[in-house]
Symmetry: C2
Subunit: 331 residues, 2 copies
């Protein structure tokens, strides 16, 4: 039914091996340009698609790149990252397999991943010392981790990146003339406590450099919490001048609570989000926030994955995702 490389070979009048050499541009093979074009033409005419199962069997490794995204609501930013990575990997001849299966049975997952024999595992979120990842590394699967210092060629990208976003937030608020800023964070920022500490240190440094006073408050993203926080600020006369919210959802939750207490954003309090979710644009007041561009980043990830899948151990430096402030109404 399906077209095989043998069919292409027959049509081009060469051997199946030659077809393989040509279509994979195998180095060290002397094949004339005439033959090459003939083969490519034949493959094209027949609409030849290499069978990835056969290739995987032969190579001992599939073209799949597994990306664990456990129990995850793909927030737009992340969806964007995943999508961009998928596109970039495709250009490298690999394809991204996001894995949404819940992560309780870690070893079950390891089994599934080993069956697939993926070219690599791309971990964007998991803590770098996750046992499943460790096990895969031991099994010889290349695991690229965004949270592992030194991996992917940069110091703990997720860490550095998140930190710089928060710094940008503070800088924007400072530039708008706000002297007292409240950073509203979840009870625990990220998984690794060292990451959190570095992030806070960076924020404090930024505040000092910009000459603003920074207050940090923890708030669980649970029903009632934003409202209670706002009421407390009012009661204690501690209403901040500006708020740097953990993300757009925090921002919206807090704005709604403020509004319920009669506090107006941005007139009484400036409020800045982070992530640029669609709702932030349509919300009233429209959210001033930070948006991310993953294109260059994803391209680099794809190349790093490809290199590692091909056996390279090189960890040359990669660019971080770039972000920029989106100025709207809330700050």
């Amino acid at each position: 039914m399906a077209v095989t490389s043998a069919d292409v070979a027959r049509r081009a009048g060469v051997s199946q091996a030659t077809v393989s050499y040509v279509l994979n541009s195998t180095p060290g093979q002397a094949i004339s340009e005439r033959t090459r074009t003939r083969v490519r033409k034949a493959a094209d005419d027949l609409g030849y698609q290499p069978n990835s199962a056969a290739r995987g069997l032969r190579r001992g490794r599939t073209d799949a790149v597994v990306c664990p995204l456990p129990g995850l609501t793909l927030i737009p930013t992340l969806a964007n990252l995943v999508e961009t990575c998928a596109g970039a990997l495709e250009r490298e001849g690999l394809f991204l397999v996001p894995d949404f299966t819940p992560r309780d049975g870690a070893s079950a997952q390891v089994k599934a991943w080993r069956r697939l024999a993926p070219a690599a595992v791309l971990d964007l979120l998991l803590p770098s010392d996750d046992p499943a990842l460790e096990e895969l590394r031991r099994a010889g699967v290349p695991v690229l981790s965004g949270n592992l210092p030194g991996q992917l060629g940069w110091e703990s990208a997720g860490d550095v990146y998140a930190r710089s976003e928060r710094v940008t937030q503070l800088e924007y608020l400072a530039a708008r003339g706000h002297r007292h800023v409240l950073a509203l964070l979840p009870p625990r920022l990220g998984v690794d406590i060292r990451v959190e500490r570095r992030s806070l240190a960076a924020m404090r440094r930024t505040a000092r450099d910009a000459g603003i006073e920074l207050r940090v408050q923890r708030m669980a993203f649970e029903p009632g919490y934003p409202r209670r926080a706002v009421q407390e600020w009012i009661r204690n006369g501690e209403m901040p001048e500006a708020i740097a919210a953990y993300n757009d959802e925090y921002a919206i939750a807090v704005i709604s609570a403020l509004s319920a207490e009669g506090v107006v954003v941005p007139d009484d309090v400036a409020l800045m989000g982070l992530d640029d979710i669609p709702l932030g644009r349509t919300f009233t007041p429209a959210l001033t926030t930070i948006t991310v561009d993953f294109t260059v980043f994803a391209e680099s990830i794809a190349q790093a994955v490809k290199a590692r899948a091909d056996g390279s151990t090189d960890t040359s430096s990669l660019p971080l995702p770039t972000h920029s402030v989106v100025i709207r109404e809330s700050a």
Copy 2:
């Protein structure tokens, strides 16, 4: 390196063929229970994982179930559906491969999917007459579509399901004593115009039966639109008693606009969302909305996919996802 079925065979003292028969419970093979347990034990001891590339090559079909989710921010509801399906398929020995690659080059996608030779394609969102899906069907890949009448064993599930959610919304609002309800919908509900018409008809019927007056208004989910809509209601003295929003994001956008104009939810207007996103719980006022349970539904989908992948053409009836009203503050 990896354990093969031959290794298992050696350990169990049988032939490789026997191992295959036992582990796949191939019907029509006479193999004693003693041997079966011996083989299974050996496989277990060695931690044998069948190589899916080899299996795919031989069978001409992988265990992958491709699920196109193009250009998509996975809203929690959908993420939940995907995750539940992934789990259910895994139990059937299949695994879900969500495909996030942008859908502009439809034929590029078809190529990629054909290379993978998936057991089936599970389409939860695409219009049923999508050319890529058509092409795959012609290529002999089983395509299960949630939007195709008669497919998956029920009449256009997405259609029926969305309709019944909207009906529930109206019924709840009516039960709360609201006589004038405004349904706020996007400019075009869904892709298929017939689907839309049926949905509207169902809503009108429900309104009539419940003895309430239903107004339908279109609103683009774009910056400024909610605010302008609200201002118009005020200007024309048309403030609705209750609003049935298209989803939770619409609901939040509208509440924020109302609030900016001094209209209080739920005191002045009752407002109901749909989807139960996390932000809806933390928002002030907390959103009254509709939540969905996909477990039974996903299980059935998994079984249908499995059956179709195994060549069955049966389209017995499947249950719809079940939904229920979550009563909070907004209505």
